[in-house]
């Protein structure tokens, strides 16, 4: 008879099942692919952040003294391209979505695991092209690469950057395709649409945009690349082409792309607010369908980026009106989150701090978006720092806050370890302060008339005070972003082992082990409860096994 094992043997899970480089590079496990994405997007986040810090350093003084004008153009272009296409768009869907969508609906994996791996490789191919482009001089067109600047005039290596975005676009399409099919076809028995976590609804809406929007930017890039290489004349007014058509095609994707970045973050925040208020989300179906409404309305507002580009005043009026309409589903979400908090038993853990940050910053970003949707005000603030500040309140204050909140919330599930709560709360605070210090002054600057994309403002030295504040804030923000990376790495080795459900949260992902086994659940789950049944979870357990048995 073998002696009983005295030391507890670590359960087999997706992390310790296999070791070695190939077990990662050839994996089809959605959880491992999520971690591959996590590493890659973190890498690009710090590259993009590095460009951002250089931009802020240049603007510390009115004179253009740190970098040349041309270098500055390349800095803000590469910052934009890297952050939008290589960090924000894949961030929550490809990391948290990849990890959580099958777990939350009770599936063993995404519907097409090999396509999931393919999408990561496409991301890497696009990423390597973008890195090569950066190292060989970068691009100076702005991330919007308007024609005919990008097609006829820039001397930088624009074609490679465009192809990198083309390739990474397919990675985004394939992720969306996988999510839609998985959510339709792979739900566990009893997991009806109205029992889905709202994170899933948000990802479903995001996937729709990825699927219907990204092909349009892909074909636009094909046209731009042909135009640049073969001088076709499709966007060249000299040859009878129409540069405004480029803007229509570009924004037809790039405006909905904003919702690709923010919707998943809204999904994350919904999960966090319900858990840390210990309540069912208020107005479940309204929050669910507002995600779909945002995805639909999002496709009908693109020309509000073009109010000063010479479009007809009547179409501008319609697009202005429709842009206001997007505020409705967004407001529905904010009000429902607030109503969930009302009389909730609120816990101020780090994920919740990020969710609170999201709530405030997204509201500011959203409301200033209405300023920009109003025709009269937009003409005044177009191409100023007001737009930059608005955009970053949504993207950084909204999307990145949600991403960090989600990373903290699900870190115990992903890694099987607890992160240090004290440090995490401190980091959340630093991020919030640093963010506002960086971007709030930019609203004022923009309203006062400081144009974006200028590297030298020596003829308006009165803007310096606010620029110094903004640069100081960006340093604080940088520290706030470094901290989580450090303590997450630390916790992988030294963190306390996490229980299966450290937050006592609702949701199928918490009913399996931390970290989960390779096929997610030891036996196929059957769902018999409604989503966010926190009242039930927290109620005194009547049916529990009597103590002392």
């Amino acid at each position: 008879m073998a002696t009983p094992i005295l030391q507890p043997v670590e359960r087999e899970n997706y992390l310790n099942k296999e070791y070695g480089v190939w077990s990662w590079l050839l994996t089809t496990d959605h959880k491992r692919i999520a971690l591959l994405y996590l590493l890659s997007i973190t890498f690009f986040f710090f590259i993009g952040g590095f460009f951002a810090l250089l931009i802020r350093l240049e603007l510390l003084t009115p004179a253009g003294d740190l970098v040349q004008a041309d270098t500055y153009n390349k800095l803000f272009t590469m910052h934009g391209m890297v952050m939008v296409f290589f960090f924000l768009i894949p961030s929550i869907p490809a990391v948290l979505g990849n990890f959580l969508v099958p777990l939350m609906i009770g599936a063993k994996d995404l519907a097409f695991p090999r396509i999931n791996l393919l999408s990561w490789y496409l991301y890497i191919i696009g990423g390597v092209m973008m890195l090569h482009c950066i190292l060989t001089g970068g691009v100076d067109t702005g991330w919007t690469f308007y024609a005919p600047l990008a097609t006829n005039f820039t001397n930088s290596n624009f074609t490679e950057a465009a192809l990198a975005i083309f390739v990474v676009g397919f990675s985004s399409i394939l992720t969306g395709l996988n999510f839609v099919v998985t959510i339709h076809r792979m739900r566990a028995p009893g997991m009806t649409w109205s029992r889905l976590p709202l994170f899933i609804w948000a990802h479903y809406a995001t996937s729709i945009i990825q699927l219907l929007g990204t092909p349009v930017i892909a074909v636009t890039i094909v046209l731009v690349a042909c135009e640049r290489v073969l001088h076709l004349g499709i966007f060249d007014p000299k040859l009878g082409g129409d540069p405004i058509l480029f803007q229509h095609l570009f924004w037809f994707y790039s405006h909905p792309a904003v919702y690709i970045m923010i919707l998943p973050s809204m999904g994350v925040v919904t999960e966090i607010i319900a858990c840390f208020s210990r309540k069912r989300i208020f107005g479940y179906s309204f929050v669910a369908f507002s995600s779909i409404a945002i995805a639909v309305f999002g496709f009908l507002v693109w020309a509000h980026h073009m109010f000063v580009a010479g479009i007809s005043v009547y179409s501008a009026l319609v697009f202005s009106f429709l842009s206001y309409a997007v505020a409705l589903p967004s407001a529905i979400k904010v009000f429902n989150w607030t109503a969930t908090l009302y009389k909730g038993s609120i816990h101020y853990d780090a994920p919740m701090l990020y969710a609170f940050g999201f709530l405030g910053l997204f509201t500011i970003g959203g409301l200033t978006g209405l300023f920009l949707a109003a025709l009269g005000i937009d003409v005044h603030v177009t191409d100023t720092y007001f737009v930059v500040a608005h955009f970053h309140y949504i993207m950084v204050g909204g999307a990145v806050m949600g991403y960090l909140g989600g990373m903290h919330f699900w870190w115990p599930k992903i890694s099987g370890r607890l992160y240090p709560e004290g440090w995490a709360r401190l980091a959340a605070l630093i991020v919030f302060i640093g963010f506002n210090l960086t971007f709030f002054p930019q609203f004022v600057l923009g309203y006062m008339g400081m144009p974006r994309r200028y590297f030298d403002y020596s003829h308006m030295p009165e803007f310096q005070v606010l620029n110094v504040l903004s640069t100081a804030g960006s340093t604080v923000l940088g520290v706030g972003y470094l901290l989580p990376m450090l303590y997450f790495l630390w916790s992988m080795r030294y963190g306390k082992p996490a229980s299966d459900n450290p937050w006592n949260a609702a949701g199928l992902e918490w009913k399996t082990a931390s970290p989960p086994p390779t096929f997610n659940f030891d036996e196929e789950p059957v769902v018999t409860w409604e989503a966010y049944n926190y009242e039930e979870l927290d109620a005194p357990h009547k049916s529990e096994v009597p103590v002392g048995r």
Partner: protein, 241 residues
Amino acid sequence: MADSSLTPVHEHHGEAHAAHNPALLHHFAEPQQQRDAASLGMWVFLATEVMFFGGLFCAYLIYRRWYFGDFGAASKSIDATLGATNTAVLICSSLTVVLAVWAAQTARKTLLIAMLGITMLLGLAFLGIKGVEYKDKFEEHHVPGASFSFENVPIPGHPGEFANPRHAQIFFSLYFVMTGLHALHMIIGLGIFTWLFVMAWKGRFTPEWNTPVEIGGLYWHFVDIVWIYLFPLLYLIDRHP
């Protein structure tokens, strides 16, 4: 594209249905779920393709409205007979694809192999005719670029007026981009069908498992339908008997 579920996996996971269905992947509960997922995946992918070509159709329609006369003149210079032949070729190939799917579902192996083969031959014929058209355009200096020439071409229905070569160049740009991307899709389709042909030859498809034929067929039909729109839009702008 949704071919992750196509390749049969030969490892069994000890599940009951896996015994008679070696193609069932581990993460699906039953073959029906796997088939539904693959089929939905292809439909969703085709939706992205609609948007991909949609951007081009949108650009095309805008310029066609702006430069209708020039587009009409340019359209007349491409060979409508070859275009019509190609349309017929593709419609026939859609029929053979449908027959192939039916043959796979009803375990008619010889018919399946024949229909897949004929479909590929029709696809190759299409590309060959397309190549002839491209060669004609090249020889007539109708390929956009430095040697492009479209001088003194009358606008149909407007005696004494001549097409603006720059606007005609936009027509030919769109013609080459749209038909070129369509041809690229045909080539990818031929790749898929080659693989289906090999699998059918090896006898892998059964009435229980023939999803690849079905969704490969969906893809082929889609590429056909794109051509059904391209043909009248590009070839028949201002032609009258």
